[in-house]
């Protein structure tokens, strides 16, 4: 992305204090507002992207109820899902605190919360990989043609429709996980810049926007979790 000019001014000339908008803007406020509007638009596209998964879930469930009925209990452990939900919720809270800290110019609180949130993100991914993806992979509970799980489930056993639930599960959670991963990197970037004193009451565009992104990734999980893990 952008190369950040290293700030060599003393305590007085912190980057955020002297920050000047790019030349095509009239003032800093316009630039900030524009960045936020842009971010909201981008997040709208993210929600639409995921709405494709939700659509697929509902339509396929309508067509093949037997492939979905009981599938969540059969293949997924709601406790792991719940833990992951909690982890993400905590991280979202951290991010909210971080944005507030940036507005108040509390550099260390900002950096701490951002890094803590990124740790939560990593924990989420580790739990997902170690406790869900890997055992599933070993058991053959993988989607489509790769599906080798001997037991299957439901009334029509063994049926070609069996892997559908897992197909939806794998693609939607993997896409979500990928977003979490991106989010972790973004949080590091914010944390690093925060430590360098880039953010303060007058300039915290990036914190705000990455925060929005993280909340939306969290929100998407809030929808995925009950759909995949809880609905019987």
């Amino acid at each position: 992305m952008t190369s950040i000019p290293t700030n060599s001014g003393g305590a007085k000339g912190e980057y955020w204090e002297t920050y000047k908008h790019q030349p095509h803007w009239r003032n800093n406020e316009d630039e900030f507002e524009a960045a936020k509007l842009g971010m909201w638009l981008f997040l709208a596209t993210e929600l639409l992207l995921f709405s494709g998964f939700f659509c697929a879930y509902f339509v396929l469930r309508m067509f093949y109820p037997e492939a979905f009925r009981g599938a969540s209990q059969e293949y997924l452990n709601w406790k792991i899902g719940a833990i992951n939900t909690a982890v993400l919720l905590i991280s979202s809270w951290n991010v909210a605190v971080a944005v507030r800290a940036a507005q108040l110019g509390q550099k260390m609180i900002l950096a701490f919360n951002v890094f803590f949130a990124s740790l939560c993100g990593i924990a989420f991914l580790v739990i997902k990989l170690a406790l869900e993806y890997y055992p599933k992979y070993q058991a053959g509970e993988i989607p489509g043609a790769l599906f080798t799980f001997p037991g299957g489930h439901g009334e029509y056993l063994p049926s070609a429709y069996d892997p559908i639930f897992l197909s939806v599960y794998w693609v939607s959670t993997a896409t979500h996980g990928f977003h979490v991963l991106i989010g972790v990197f973004l949080l590091w970037w914010i944390g690093w810049r925060a430590l360098k004193g880039h953010f303060g009451p007058k300039h915290y565009t990036a914190v705000e926007n990455v925060g929005l992104y993280w909340h939306v990734v969290d929100l998407i999980w809030i929808f995925l979790f009950p759909l995949l893990y809880l609905v019987p």
Binding site: G38, T45, F53, G144, A145, V171
Partner: protein
Amino acid sequence: MTTIPADTAGAHGHDDHDAPYYASKGGFFVNVWDWMTTIDHKKIGVMYLFAVMAAFALGGAAAILVRLELFQPAVTVGGDTSGMWPFSTNLGYNKAFTLHGAVMVFLFIIPSIPAALGNFMLPLMLGAKDVAFPRLNLFSWYIYVIGSIFAIVSILLGGVDTGWTFYTPYSVSFDQYGRVIAMTLAVFILGFSSIFTGMNFVVTVHKLRAPGMGWFDMPLFIWAIYATAIIQVLATPVLGITVLLLTIENVFKIGIFNPMYGGDPVLYQHFFWFYSHPAVYIMILPGMGIMSELIAVHARKKIFGYKLVAFSSLGIAAISFIVWGHHMFTAQGELASAIFSGLTFLVAIPSAIKVFNWTATLYKGSIALTTPMVYALIFLFLFSIGGLTGLFLGSLSVDMHLHDTYFVVAHFHYVMMGGTVMAFLGGIHHWWPKMFGKMYNERWALFGAGLVFIGFNMTFFTQFFLGTLGMPRRYATYVDEFTTLHQISTIGSWILAAGMLIHLAVFVTSLFGGKKAPPNPWGGLSLEWEAASPPIEHNFHHEPVVRHGPYDFDDAVPPHTEPGEFPLPAPDGKAKH
């Protein structure tokens, strides 16, 4: 605004500040590097222009091959069976038309007007220095290039033969060497480019209008680009997820669209058309925006019903999201079809409003038959035919007969080529002096436009007959009765191509030997004409202030002014030289 350079460039020396945006900075490599890393919307617009033109040439070449194969009923070219012509087999033919369709839709027509002309003109027309996110703008150009490379790789791997719609199960069942994967990934990547451009434009329109420019002081081209950008942002993600799922299905054999693993192919069609119907308005809306500019400026008349034209853009954008089912009359349930048929008629209303308003604008205007105006008239004529036949297709019972025939092919070529491409060509001629600071040869350009018009109608009007007679689309062979019509169509395609080549020649000669263009050759009133031709690096010397509406020709222009007598006098009475 007093220091706009005069048309006699050499007369007084230009200092650096006055140099055109593309003024060279150093040696060859310095300049190439300068272009590759530029965040200047004008340069990016020009880079897009060249890229989409290259795509247009590639897609056009494929089209010529397709038509060539159809010159005779059998799968040969001129009776040749030696395999010298790779596209003269069933498989080769399928690949040729897929290449044509996918390249034209995803590489050419979707980015064409917004990304090339829009990028260049949007900030200028708003009186801004650049788009809201200049770096994102450059980034989206690179994404476009990467996506195009994927598309070309799929060709090198042996070509895709699924049609541009990639319907399952075919597209997920017979994919050797990952060709379909490469192509669908290309579409996925290109989608991002489109989304980023759209986001950029929406924010630019919201935040970077010149002082004094309210929403209803914007040129209508901006309104159209704005509506387009909204569709780009809201529809493209659905295409993204669709082709992403398609790619994943191909790689991992997942069953979401593939019936072999329990998926549902009709679900694919719904997903695909949920994007691709709005996408046809991504294609046409910017063309409609150009139309408003061409008609008003070259007839020097206040546009009739400004607000209606502006709102109909938004209306089209909104309605376009609820009519996708008209592509699936033969695939979905009857009730759904009936509902979609009804909704489809709605979308014709805002389109027709525009057509009537343009026609009303022409009434009593002082029409100058310049190439842009001629293209505007061609658009009016061809788009009306295209839109009307869309209504035929939207009628459920009629479409049962016409679906998947050449009638549909003719319909969408009348709207896409007869509409968008004609507007694009008109727009390029209209803004060519502004973009490159050179005039083009009017007489040759008009000749080219004439050939395009004749060739186009020969090529595609015949296809309405073919369709009603029952000629199905996407076949390399046909029964002997259709031979004459097919041959007229093929010969038309040559005339069309000749017209395009003339345009190309006109542009090239203009670049290297054209007359120097004045800042305002047509006497337009929107802000881009207040900048120099070509504009300086930061567009304007001072942030422009809006003094009159973009179409106030009655008030702002003294009567009996010839276009050549522009630029207009500034309010203080002194000529703006």
